[in-house]
Amino acid sequence: MHEETQPSSSLAAELRNISVTYGAAGAAVQAVRGVSLEVHRGEVLLLMGPSGSGKSTLLQVLGCIRQATAGSIFMDERPVHGLAESELSRLRCDRLGFVFQHYNLLPSLRAWENVALALELKGQSGFQVEVSSRQILSYLGLEDRADAYPAELSGGEKQRVAIARAVVGEPDIILADEPTAALDAASGAQVARLLARIAHEQGRAVVIVTHDSRISGIADRIVYLEDGAIRSIQKNVRVQMKSLRESGIHDMEDHSRGGADGVVDRRTAVNG
């Protein structure tokens, strides 16, 4: 499936015909089947689908954490497949930021130190690292919580620290795995808005794997996966949701399940 082309300068990453197979030949399970996808700067892309549909595997491939069994991946139009582990580490450090469902903050480090870790991995050191870390926390409304340990933070605060950690290195792409799943509705909405703000204001690509249809309103595109393949892609979601809200329609469920304007069925697209 090929979407309408955007200016190439906005292309942050591209997956071409990616397949991932787990297990040995006899008991092989194909988690992702021939997925092609472009990720653009400044957009929020949601990967949705039922459990086992290949969302997380696709996120891992995009995050250079798992090697695809077949297909190619490009970052800034440069091939990533075949790179050595050390080069992939460098790439993750320089170009990618991660946000996890369970925050994955290091409990032995204070909030600002968790953020500073990302800068240290990029090779930065000195007092400026602490300054930058505190500033990004302040930007995310956590100025007073910078010296707290993760155990002293609420779920929403932890996730905002995790987002600060993902953003502080100024990556091209932020990959978030179920970032709102462990949060209450209010905190989840706040985190979702924050991720959208990062994408739209800072021009970063934000790719979110989620089951949470409540956050579909922040998405520019929603990719629905099923059995490891793209079932459909819903475009211009945010714009449509905004217009729906303005017209007084609040039921998002129908749209998140597909079928509304802007949703392209993969079979239709493939078959022309």
């Binding site: 993750r92 290091l106 480090l109 870790l117 050191s125 690292v129 930007y139 409304g141 795995d177």
Partner: protein
């Protein structure tokens, strides 16, 4: 949340107070807190390392102490070359030889002087009637090539007094005398304490009793024409190796060693031939193994608990080297703390045992070497944990 319109770049110039200070890297803080937050685990690791360090230090301190003690007569003597009875393995237990070889030795070019020295076991009868084995060291008190050292009371000149002996205060209780002027019997003949020294230990635990050559012969029943050793002083600038060879040719019935050679020969005999050195070394190695196992085990369990954290750091782009450094620092923190505690305890034990007959000899080189051994041990102990961390499945962060 603060004003979203405020850009990050715009905030960079805002002055900030360094609240916690940036004195160490995040990796170091992480390693430090990982190892210090679980106090029980830290205490176990530190005690393990401290015990290992203590065991190594004490055993090696004893080994060095025994080595130095066993050859102290050779090392203290003002002699360049020793002429010894054929086959003599150590300074305390040699046979005897004709003293007239002295004149052949004096005829060798490069020899300045030659003096007799008698070193022989004999029996010491205490004032309370008990008997102790002692080693009588007979010297020439007029021109002594070897003389008692660390005098607490008296001097070497007192050995000119008939029946005079110099003993060490470490063995005063064993010998049953503690003051100058007290009398005892040696091999049924009268002896009088004329001097007391400090810290002259003996490896065999039979105390050295210094006297003049005449008394020594009488108390050990050594014929007048015989001696135990001949101590040779070389003329300044003489080549000791060549002189030793020349002396060996002059006195073929005896063995000739440089002082350094005879010192090592004595140490080798007591520490290697008797197996004593091996037993001390085995105990020291045991200390290394104990430390290795304890540090390795505590570090491994700490690492396993935090495997998900390492996976996160790896996912964020950490290199193998960065991850290794975190584990290694934890190991080195335990090692350093254990080393400090263990070394301090060993120094305390050495201080407490300074008045005992067993020498626990600690030196700066030994302490430094054991520091290196300890840290190397900790590096070794961290290998299993490092291997585990480097093999962590990064994708596990998404589960």
């Amino acid at each position: 949340m603060s004003d979203p319109s405020q850009s990050i770049e715009a905030m960079d110039s805002r002055p900030r107070k360094n609240r916690s200070g940036w004195q160490s890297s995040v990796a170091f803080r992480l390693a430090w807190r990982n190892i210090t937050r679980d106090r029980i685990r830290l205490i176990i690791a530190v005690i393990g390392v401290a015990f290992a360090v203590l065991l190594m230090t004490v055993q090696l301190g004893l080994l060095i102490g025994f080595a130095v003690t066993s050859s102290s007569l050779v090392d203290r003597a003002q002699a360049d070359i020793w002429i010894v009875p054929r086959g003599a393995k150590d300074v305390d237990q040699a046979g005897n030889m004709f003293e007239r070889q002295k004149y052949r030795a004096l005829g060798v070019s490069g020899v300045d002087s030659v003096q007799s020295l008698i070193v022989r076991f004999t029996d010491w009868k205490r004032p309370d009637g008990g008997t102790e084995s002692v080693i009588v060291v007979g010297i020439d008190p007029v021109r002594p090539a070897l003389q008692p050292w660390n005098f607490v009371e008296g001097s070497v000149d007192n050995l000119r007094i008939a029946d005079g002996v110099v003993i060490d205060e470490l063995y005063s209780r064993k010998l049953g005398v503690s003051k100058v002027g007290e009398t005892v019997e040696i091999m049924g003949r009268r002896a009088r304490v004329v001097g007391i020294t400090s810290q002259i230990r003996t490896f065999t635990q039979s105390p050295y009793v210094f006297s003049n050559l005449k008394n020594a012969r009488a108390w050990t029943r050594l014929p007048d024409e015989r001696t135990t050793y001949l101590l040779v002083r070389a003329l300044p600038g003489a080549n000791l190796s060549n002189l030793r060879n020349a002396l060996q040719a002059a006195v073929p019935a005896s063995d000739v060693w440089t002082a350094r050679e005879f010192s090592w020969r004595t140490r080798f005999y007591w520490l290697v031939t008797t197996g004593m050195g091996a037993s001390l070394l085995i105990a020291a190695v045991l200390g290394v193994i104990v430390g290795l196992v304890i540090v390795s085990q505590t570090l491994y369990s700490a690492t396993m608990e935090r495997l998900q954290e390492y996976a996160t750091i790896r996912a964020m782009g950490a290199t193998n080297r960065y991850l290794q450094a975190i584990v290694l620092r934890q190991s080195l923190v335990s090692g350093t703390l254990g080393y400090v505690v263990g070394t301090a305890t060993a120094i305390l034990i050495a201080w407490l045992s300074r008045e005992s007959s067993a020498t626990l000899m600690l030196s700066y080189p030994l302490i430094v070497i054991l520091g290196v051994v300890t840290l190397t041990m900790c590096v070794g102990a961290s290998l299993i944990s490092i291997r585990k961390v480097l093999r962590v499945d990064t994708a596990s962060v998404f589960r």
